[in-house]
């Protein structure tokens, strides 16, 4: 059984439908990417999984439990952490306070010290800036903090929404290295990315989303070899 499974999920905002009958699966220990052009519904997909918006139709099963329609704060408790688009840090709270808020769940709060040590080991730059306000960090540091904050909830699955957005090219490469290290810690991950070339190097499998539908799926290596993907997204 897959860790996460979406079965013919349709979702949107008001009159607008952003996702049409999307089916997708993530196995335990896997890293999966969702790529596609702007407006393909990638962010909506992650928001449906983390409970920010409910699916209109279809089902969402995580570790055997249906999470469709459950609010965001309950989904986190099931072990899904969402690193949202634009990071969504608490800018006036310090780095330490942001990490603390990541451990808001009762079970995460109990393991707070241990989680903090793990995150500090992964991101030494954050450990040095404990007392600094999150809003004063550089873009790369903010993204590290957003990831660190997600790890504090002790998730099994991490959703990344455009982690490289707004970062300088050098920082993008460092960020992908960091995500690779997070992966090596054994987390399962689902990543939405514009930087298709980099993300396909990182993940096992990928889905190509276009105007709200799954257009293609396959092993990352195979997908990056396809002419269509190369021309349209990898830029080769």
């Amino acid at each position: 059984m897959s860790m996460l499974e979406l079965r013919t999920v349709t979702a949107g905002y008001g009159q607008f439908t952003a996702l049409w009958d999307v089916s997708l699966a993530v196995e335990r220990g896997e890293a999966v990417a969702v790529v596609g052009p702007n407006g393909a519904g990638k962010t909506t997909l992650l928001r449906v999984i983390s409970g920010v918006i409910p699916p209109r139709h279809g089902d969402l099963v995580f570790e055997g439990a249906s999470l469709a329609g459950r609010p965001a704060h309950e989904v986190v408790a099931h072990g899904i952490a969402h690193v949202p688009e634009g990071r969504r840090l608490f800018p006036k709270l310090t780095v330490a306070e942001n990490l603390k808020m990541g451990a808001f769940l009762p079970r995460a709060r109990k393991a707070y010290r241990e989680s903090l040590e793990r995150v500090s080991a992964l991101f030494p730059a954050l450990a040095e800036r404990q007392k600094q306000r999150a809003g004063s960090l550089s873009g790369g540091e903010q993204q590290m903090l957003a990831i660190g904050r997600a790890l504090m909830s002790r998730p099994q699955l991490i959703l990344f929404d455009e982690p490289s957005m707004g970062l300088a090219p050098v920082m993008v490469l460092r960020l992908f290295d960091l995500i690779r290290r997070v992966r090596e810690e054994g987390y399962t991950m689902l990543i939405v990315e514009q930087n298709v070339r980099q993300v396909l190097k990182l993940v096992d499998r990928a889905y190509l989303l276009e105007v709200g539908r799954v257009r293609m799926e396959g092993r990352a290596a195979e997908l990056s070899e396809q002419d269509f993907v190369r021309k349209a997204y990898v830029g080769l």
Binding site: V52, P71, V76, R88, L93, K100, M101, F104, R109
Partner: protein, 288 residues
């Protein structure tokens, strides 16, 4: 020319008044910061809690400190009730509807207080002397109210900065949606915030009870100045509200001695209007 000693005395009294005003402004600001809703009827909740203190002390004979604590409990209960009964159903409504709903509560509370308790001024009689310090007279109840309000504000500061839930309240005021992704139920945070805001109203009610008599229109006397302080400090800005409380109370106190109490209010409101043009984001906001 006025004897400078009167000015000093007015300044000292202004600081005393500022303490309690700050308590009200911080309570109102805290709720606004988290929920984005201005509780127009906030000071009317104070009025109801003052009646509670009055009845507990004067009718049921509780000692004043216990009656004051009773007022705080009533404040907390009112805060939670207002959130659950009035705010929750209209949380996603346009701001104007929310304003009308809490404004409606104001008239409801004024009317029901008039109906139940008449328009008579009721006061908790505390016979405490004034203290003389180097020719300045300070009333003892005012001094107590000031010291306690400062202590409660220190407590609020520690709650918001040192506790998990307090930090979460600040986090929600910065990004509601992100805090839900951390596993915090927004409704739970709202209820806690409303309870804390209600507690501030209850403490203010207890501290105002020993200085002023209560009547159904008490909210009309202290409400406008509280809103002005919040706006002057920058809505949602706790430090700004704290500073603005003392600026306003000083203007009223010193203006009251130099001209008259009414003139003090006129100057305070005039300054408020000028500041709205000069610094619409509040006294601590950076200039555009």
């Amino acid at each position: 020319m006025i004897d400078p000693i009167f000015l000093v005395e007015a300044a000292v009294n202004g600081i005393m008044l500022g303490g309690v005003l700050a308590l009200l402004a911080l309570g109102l600001n805290l709720i606004f910061g988290v929920l984005d809703i201005v509780w127009i009827a906030y000071v009317d909740l104070v009025m109801v809690a003052m009646y509670a203190v009055y009845f507990l002390v004067m009718v049921y004979g509780w000692p004043i400190w216990l009656g004051g604590l009773g007022g705080v409990v009533v404040g907390v209960a009112l805060g939670i009730l207002v959130h659950l009964l009035i705010i929750t159903p209209i949380l996603d409504s346009p701001p104007v509807n929310q304003l009308l709903a809490t404004g409606g509560l104001l008239f409801f509370l004024q009317s029901i207080a008039t109906f139940l308790w008449s328009t008579d001024h009721k006061s908790v009689r505390v016979s405490l002397p004034s203290i003389e310090l180097g020719g300045i007279f300070v009333s003892y109840p005012r001094l107590i109210a000031f010291v306690l309000s400062i202590l409660v504000m220190v407590g609020l500061y520690l709650f918001l900065t040192r506790t998990f839930i307090g930090t979460a309240i600040r986090a929600v005021s910065q990004d509601r949606g992100a805090m839900a992704l951390m596993g915090a139920s927004p409704q739970k945070i709202y209820v806690v915030t409303s309870a804390v805001g209600g507690a501030m109203a209850g403490v203010a009610a207890a501290l105002l009870s020993i200085q002023y008599s209560v009547h159904p229109y008490f909210g009309a006397a202290f409400g406008p100045i509280t809103f002005m302080i919040c706006v002057l400090g920058g809505l949602g800005n706790m430090v700004g509200a704290f500073i603005a409380s003392f600026v306003m109370s000083e203007i009223i106190a010193i203006g009251g001695v130099v001209w008259s109490t009414e003139m003090g209010y006129v100057i305070a409101f005039a300054l408020f209007i000028v500041m709205m043009f000069a610094r619409p984001g509040g006294i601590l906001a950076k200039r555009q």
